[in-house]
Symmetry: C2
Subunit: 464 residues, 2 copies
């Protein structure tokens, strides 16, 4: 289907300024260009205008204006996604919520918090510091919580705490007609009708814009202990992870970095870890609980040749360790200055993880392209970062070929093409492969029903 | 809107028999009557025919036949729901999946299992016994796992393990056109497109029929310890629960029964617990972990006057304790032989739980009707069971009045009208109250888009 979108002319811009204010509406080409791109290799596609909203009401009014003129709407948080989610494929209005940074209410007695969509994960945790509570979901970037919800993000803590899917209680969403909807109550569980909250988590702004998020919080554990341990080879490291998960140890983080990634991390973060396949661990709990977990994990690691544990118990030491891990993507990119990255994001059932990673590693080693492997392996999720020269089309083609193989392998193992990055427009072709024509048709039906004019982030997830 | 449904005539029945077999198609009025009713007070509305399917393919073929003739389809598992979910409001075909009892595959190495929709929770756990794994979700009834998914059920273990919402990995669903859809891969997490799995969890068969369910499993804890402890009054018992949750103790079960319910349980299960507000506890973990939890819980309980803990460590003792708890609904019903029950199902943020329960208790005490309170209080979810004489319309009216007050109070506290029973046709009027007209309109849009002829369990959740 083709859609005849309206144009963003001066009269339209005047209306936008009336809803917000002149200094929050910009058509500057640099700003628009920047808002049309994310942290990936996908080329920028600039919106016609960027508007910085300050409230749910303003978002609603902007969307109503866009709906009346049939103008596309692209939500924008921090622009840190990786599949072209923010590219304005058909122009239109980019609604930047990064100034919606109110922490609406912290409710320690209910272990939850309501924030505006522009609050980032680090800002929230800084704000919470004195309450003894924290929010665990941590993608590499300091992303906005609205964007993290929209892409169903996760990170290193997901193995224990789940992803955004498990940690959003309720949302405020502006629909494609500008209606404001609350998707659920704050009750911890509910059987009341269709699950509107999960309808919008991971919908990438294609069904509406998230303006407020209510999240579960957790008590900061009494004891936190982190460690790094090198392994003789990749297979041993992965098999150690599989055993840990299968035994049911409630580990908080268990992350894999291959030798290339360790080399990059050492250089980027000025560290001197061994350059071999390595696991990063974190344990949360009571003093006894953590001690028990550590004993069990050390026993399993030893079976697989992992004996040289380096421990970090003090907060600053742990922060250094995990900052290095979170910066893995940026570290890999700086190994070839001026280059860009393609990050795969396969996630497979844990029993197939060794097979998936070993096959991937073999292909990376055989390729002329530089690549690293890093993964949230406790969940069966791993990334291969291919670093390519944007001026060399052969390199991008090679990265895409390898990425396609990774996806095919994951789907053949009853896994998914994306564990946490989302579909954007970069992975649309894999969605039918994963869900079959019947599954894709249901997604298309949902999109058509809820956004019949295809104005919400058009060209992402499903084509109409 | 009105829908002109097709009639179930002899030619249609012949087609049904061809798809299945003659002995699995029944129009017996007793059988149809029984399939039109659940365990609640809602009156039976019999389907025209009941068909017992044996496979996803058969379900698909039956649905295709119904779609071709515009005949309503009502899925049926064990008939243990509580809001008239299985009532054939517009006649039609009841698809009974209770003979679809294959355990398709247990995958201990992935901690998951795939079952056909008719497998019940107890059957699954018996089957799993030798694997060292279990499935924790446990509504009172021994319900089918397809039905539990369709109603987003939970039970006593939800405080630690979550509800069906958190424990279904993927589903096989037959859509209103008879298509067979797999809603997700088996990957532990995914950011691939719209969340089809959560679209069908809790949809009560109104968007399609669930024929297979893949569930997360958990290792049977090394140590399990249960206890019962009476409290001086209801408020103390509830406040004890609130403190336990707020401190973050990873308790597996924490259940409240008021003095009326304890009296009923004692009589029904031939026990001699104290007839006062009582908490039932269960602790899961390592020896040290359970010991830590117990120490903390005993300290908190003592603050609120709960000191007389009765422990049950042996499996048979624990089973006796939890069977008594699971039979609470039946126990209350037998306090007035020949009577029926109305069960409220409010769920509120934990900080409001004491207020909600105390206000409810006051109303029960002031009413002429016999009622008990029992709750999954760790989640903020509690039931009031009103036992009424079905021949006395005043009593049903009184039960409905009290139930309406409970719902209004829960919604005013940012809670929900149903924590785990679902909407069926019994709670439809509360759905708009809870979600507002905008939220309800989205639900209606989903239903219209996915089932435009309104053949799937029509008249439940939303009216078209």
């Amino acid at each position: 289907m083709t859609f005849n979108y309206g144009t963003v002319d001066q009269a339209f811009l005047d209306e936008l300024c009336k809803i917000t204010s002149e200094d929050r509406v910009s058509t500057s080409s640099a700003l628009c260009e920047q808002h049309g791109t994310d942290e990936s290799y996908h080329r920028s596609q600039a919106p016609d205008v960027v508007v910085f909203t300050l409230s749910t009401k303003e978002v609603s009014d902007v969307v109503k204006l866009c709906a009346a003129h049939n103008v596309p709407v692209i939500p924008y948080g921090t622009g840190t996604s990786l599949e072209g989610h923010v590219a304005a494929l058909h122009g239109g209005v980019c609604i930047d919520v990064s100034q919606m940074t109110k922490i609406v209410e912290v409710r320690p007695e209910d272990l939850d918090v309501t924030v505006e969509a522009g609050v980032t994960r680090k800002t929230l945790n800084e704000y919470l510091r004195d309450t003894g509570l924290f929010f665990p979901i941590d993608p590499g970037a300091d992303a906005s919580l609205g964007g993290m919800t929209a892409t169903r993000a996760s990170g290193t803590n997901a193995v224990r705490y789940g992803t955004m899917r498990e940690n959003v209680l309720t949302l405020t969403v502006v629909t494609p007609t500008g209606d404001i909807v609350k998707t659920a109550s704050r009750a911890k569980k509910s059987a009341a009708g269709y699950d509107l909250t999960h309808l919008y988590i991971g919908a990438e702004g294609t069904l509406g814009i998230i303006t407020e998020v209510t999240l579960r919080l957790y008590g900061i554990p009494e004891v936190i202990n982190s460690a790094v341990c090198p392994f003789p080879d990749l297979e041993s490291a992965v098999n150690m992870v599989i055993s840990t998960i299968q035994v049911g140890i409630p580990i908080a983080r268990i992350e894999l970095l291959d030798e290339n990634q360790m080399d990059a991390v050492n250089k980027y973060s000025k560290l001197d870890y061994a350059v071999s396949p390595t696991l990063f661990f974190e344990f949360h709990g009571s003093p006894n609980g953590v001690e028990e977990q550590i004993e069990q994990v050390k026993d399993i690691a030893e079976e697989f040749g992992g004996v040289d544990f380096q421990w970090a118990e003090k907060q600053e030491d742990r922060d250094r360790l995990w900052n290095a891990r979170h910066n893995a993507y940026y570290a890999a990119l700086t190994m070839r200055p001026g280059c860009k990255g393609v990050s795969s994001d396969a996630c497979v059932p844990i029993s197939r993880l060794a097979e998936a990673i070993i096959a991937t590693k073999k292909e990376v080693d055989e390729s002329s392209l530089y690549g690293t492997i890093v993964g949230h392996v406790g969940d069966g999720n791993y990334h291969t970062l291919f670093v390519f020269d944007p001026d060399n089309p052969d390199e991008l083609a090679e990265a895409k070929r390898l990425n396609a193989n990774i996806v095919e392998r994951a789907i053949a193992m009853d896994g998914t093409c994306t564990g946490e990055h989302g579909i954007g427009h970069g992975k649309m072709k894999y969605l039918e492969r994963e869900f079959g024509p019947e599954g894709l048709e249901i997604m298309r039906t949902l999109k058509k029903a809820l956004d019949p004019n295809n104005i919400m982030n058009p060209g992402k997830i499903v084509a109409l």
